[in-house]
């Protein structure tokens, strides 16, 4: 008998058919992956299972019996647990407080945190999910927060566990550990629904894979029967080139030179500690690191949006240290920020207004301080066509576009001026395979054009595919810079975790779960 069945699930939102007659089932001891691009309807289906949305049609059966799930409390009562795409934790509460939230205390009406902590410790030892019950959530790294989320479900005795894009914020080692834990939980008789659009880990973790596209199931398959490129095709609906061809370019003069840079973070701490980097004409320098290790501050300092404490930044030979962003822009540096909606665009502006933001003073678009709408429209239509931005009209509000299309909009604006230096921060984070493929091709085209690119990314596969050299940043310092030919994932992962010397036993231990994956 199936542990869980979702039959004929349909869900409309205004203007979108998010789930279209979806059938999905899960066995005990099984890890069943839901694979699909952004907007395919994966989260919607799982939110229906967890009682956050009510389906328009369809029914849910647990161990053969039809059940009604009207709210998360119903789901919890039926033994369904969910780790959400955006962590559902209260940062100002401790681990134990977060875990016990919503449960009846043994000392009602008072809380009984010591008892909760004890049980958490037991569970975390059983599944090697190391976490201190008495620390506050805000003190924890992303990987640790993830463990708390899983512990929350285990504490409630979940027999069905849903994980919605759980690997988005994890280092390769943490991903390997997670896969290990999931396999153990499945072996203990649970059913696990794993959501991702990263093909590699999907192949590693799944017993079965169901692919969703535009709200419909496009296939169900086991990893043994398939491979990554076939999965990508099922996801996107057309053949996808996962690994782009790298153009052979002769590297030229240094275009971006960062020397001994020190930058402070928002809390007055030293976020960037003596970083020196050099990016040459036609080169892509990758900067790897777990987010929060100074990448954001470094990028902002280079773009002129954050003050430098000491050190210098040179763009195209011009000293732009602590210069106004306008000056940096005039030195032909383009910046694709990590925070695409608020730093990269003005979300409430129309698509055309955002496309014109950089060139608004250009003679073509601005005459006697008045905007020249005919020219602006023509220019924007051109960009929309060239960069394949999917938008209903040029007047559409930017925040209504999907993440991938907002990113394409930013790329269009930043690349249309043919920059000498491109500073791109996490250009594909949270973006689906189709758009990622396109963004890769744009980056490589810029490289072929002689642009010097500093590519900041957490995604090591991406860096391995695109970068000529990979620098690793940890706690604001450059740990090492490796040539892409000599770099391997394990070594990069260790450097990202701050391990510099090649400690053989540690290396082996951390590499093990990865090789299993």
């Amino acid at each position: 008998m199936k542990l869980l069945e979702m039959v004929g699930i349909t869900k409309h939102f205004v203007g979108v058919l998010a789930n279209d007659n979806i059938n999905f089932d899960l066995n005990q001891c099984e890890i069943h992956t839901l694979l699909g691009e952004n907007g395919a309807g994966k989260s919607t289906l799982m939110k229906i299972l967890y009682g956050l949305y009510n389906p328009d049609e369809g029914e849910i059966r647990l161990r053969g019996e039809t059940i009604e799930i009207k709210s998360p409390s119903d789901a919890i009562r039926h033994g369904i647990g969910m780790v959400h795409q955006h962590f559902m934790l209260v940062p100002t509460l401790t681990v134990a407080e977060n875990v016990s939230l919503g449960l009846r205390s043994s000392r009602h009406p008072l809380t009984d945190l010591p008892a909760v902590s004890k049980r958490i410790t037991e569970l975390s030892e059983l599944y090697s999910l190391k976490v201190d019950p008495d620390t506050y959530i805000w003190q924890l790294a992303m990987g640790e927060r993830q463990r708390v989320e899983i512990l929350k479900a285990l504490y409630r005795n979940a027999s069905v566990l849903v994980l919605d894009e759980p690997t988005a914020a994890l280092t390769p080692q943490e991903v390997a550990e997670l896969i290990h834990v999931l396999k153990k939980m499945a072996a203990d008789g649970r059913g696990i629904i794993f959501i991702s659009h990263k093909l590699k880990e999907v192949m590693a973790v799944s017993d079965r894979i169901t692919v969703l596209r535009d709200g419909q199931v496009t296939g169900e398959i086991t990893p043994a029967q398939t491979n990554e490129s076939q999965l990508a095709q099922m996801m996107v609906g057309r053949p996808v080139q996962l690994v782009p061809d790298r153009p052979k370019i002769k590297l030229g003069e240094p275009r971006l030179v960062i020397q001994d840079l020190y930058v402070d973070g928002d809390r007055g701490d030293r976020a960037v500690v003596g970083v020196s980097l050099e990016v040459r004409e036609g080169e892509i320098l990758g900067l790897a690191g777990v987010s929060g290790n100074g990448q954001r501050e470094l990028a902002q300092a280079v773009a002129g949006m954050r003050n430098v404490v000491s050190g210098t930044v040179k763009v195209g030979g011009k000293d732009t240290t602590n210069k106004h962003p306008k000056v940096v822009r005039q030195a032909r540096l383009s910046y694709v920020p990590e925070e695409r909606l608020y730093e990269g665009t003005i979300p409430s502006f129309a698509v055309s207004d955002n496309l014109i933001l950089l060139d608004r003073r250009d003679k073509r678009f601005c005459q006697y301080n008045f905007m020249h709408f005919t020219n602006i429209k023509e220019h924007c239509l051109n960009l929309v066509r060239r960069f394949l931005i999917k938008t209903p009209t040029l007047e559409t509000t930017t925040s209504d576009l999907s993440g991938g299309n907002i990113q394409k909009l930013i790329m269009a604006r930043e690349l249309s001026g043919r920059p000498k230096v491109l500073l791109a921060s996490q250009p594909t984070i949270g973006i689906d395979v189709g758009a990622t493929e396109y963004i890769y091709s744009q980056l490589l085209e810029q490289k072929a054009d002689g642009c010097a690119i500093l590519l900041i990314s957490e995604d090591l596969d991406e860096l391995m595919v695109l970068a000529d050299r990979i620098a690793v940043i940890y706690e604001g310092q450059i740990m090492d810079i490796l040539d892409h030919q000599e770099a391997d994932l394990e070594q990069l992962g260790l450097l990202m975790a701050g391990v510099k010397e090649n400690v053989p036993w540690l290396h082996r231990q951390m590499a093990q779960p990865l090789s299993m994956a």
Partner: protein, 338 residues
């Protein structure tokens, strides 16, 4: 400003004699003055404590209520009217509490069920309270008639030989003052040590997280709003039952200062208490300067501004915002938030 509070004992001639003996700066630095100031500090603080503790509980769950002053006015009038009719201050206090709870249900319905913007709704509640309390007063009472007040229960210990202040209400406090001070640890215990308090904090910091674990954000916020408004009503009642009289806009902005005190106290009951006491201390010291003739004429008039100025200055100094609930003023709805 709640000037009358400290002046209501200066009305008979015996008082004038004692006062004459302490005029000027020399009179200010005396034991008697200290007793006067401290006693009036404690009495002045009571409405602030009730209102601000109540507001802090609501804010911890993510709900801002700028209408506190309006609810206090309604509570004050209800307490006055019921005491006038029944002759019992306890009945009056109960009336203030009930009216506050009713206003809480109304405000919760507007902000939690109908998802209305909290700041604008709060101002609406204030204006309603201000206007409606006055209307009721004029229709039902007309001219102010003094009412029964709470008797003093415990004596403030003052050595007999130093006791040159012949006014027992300075050192003999009514039961309601003790209730106010008892409320502080009670609020702390509720917010910090109970499962309900955990729900309150989660609803105020990350309502989606609370909801995803089956905590009803709606029920939690309804409860805290009703508690907060009930305490505002009690605060208004306490004011009237201390003065023994009612007049138009008797709170004169106490409710707004109470909201400021929540920020000043960084959302912690003890901080709110400290703020209330500090604020009342300065107010009563300034009043004492006027009583003793240290400040006269225009300077004396200007002192009416002192409490407001202190509030602003204190808030500017204490703008750390540490402890501010992240979801303060955010409405919650499943279809929108997820």
């Amino acid at each position: 400003m709640p000037v009358e509070l400290a002046f209501d004992f200066v009305s008979n001639s015996a008082a004038a004699d004692v006062l004459a003996a302490r005029r000027g700066w020399s009179g200010f630095f005396t034991f008697t003055t200290l007793v006067v100031i401290l006693s009036s500090t404690i009495r002045l603080a009571v409405p602030y404590i009730f209102a601000a503790i109540g507001e802090s509980i609501a804010q911890r769950s993510g709900v801002l209520n700028l209408g506190v002053d309006g609810v206090m006015l309604l509570g004050a009038f209800a307490a006055y009217y019921v005491t006038l009719e029944t002759g019992g201050p306890w009945q009056g206090l109960g009336a203030g509490l009930t009216v506050g709870m009713a206003m809480g249900v109304l405000y919760a319905f507007i902000t939690v069920t109908l998802h209305a913007t909290q700041d604008i709704s709060g101002i609406g509640i204030y204006l309603f309270g201000l206007g409606f309390s006055d209307l009721l007063f004029r229709q039902l009472v007309g001219t102010p008639i003094p009412i029964e007040r709470f008797e003093g229960v415990f004596e403030f210990i003052v050595p007999d030989e130093r006791l040159d202040v012949p006014y027992p209400n300075l050192y003999n406090h009514s039961i309601i003052i003790y209730l106010a001070f008892l409320l502080v640890p009670l609020a702390w215990l509720t917010v910090s040590k109970t499962t309900f308090g955990l729900n309150i904090r989660a609803a105020g910091e990350n309502p989606e997280a609370a909801d995803s674990l089956g905590v009803s954000v709606v029920r939690t916020r309804y409860t805290t709003i009703i508690i907060g408004n009930a305490l505002a009503g009690v605060g208004g009642a306490a004011l009237v039952l201390d003065k023994g009289i009612y007049f138009q806009n008797i709170t004169n902005g106490i409710g707004f200062i109470a909201v400021a005190l929540v920020y000043f106290g960084a959302w912690r009951p003890l901080g709110v208490l400290a703020g209330s006491l500090l604020f009342s201390l300065v107010t009563s010291a300034v009043l004492e300067w006027r009583t003793l003739g240290i400040l006269t004429g225009a300077a004396a008039q200007l002192t009416e501004m002192v409490p407001a100025v202190i509030t602003v200055v204190a808030l500017v100094i204490v703008t750390r915002r540490i402890g501010q609930p992240s979801a303060l003023t955010q409405t919650f709805s499943r279809e929108i938030n997820y």
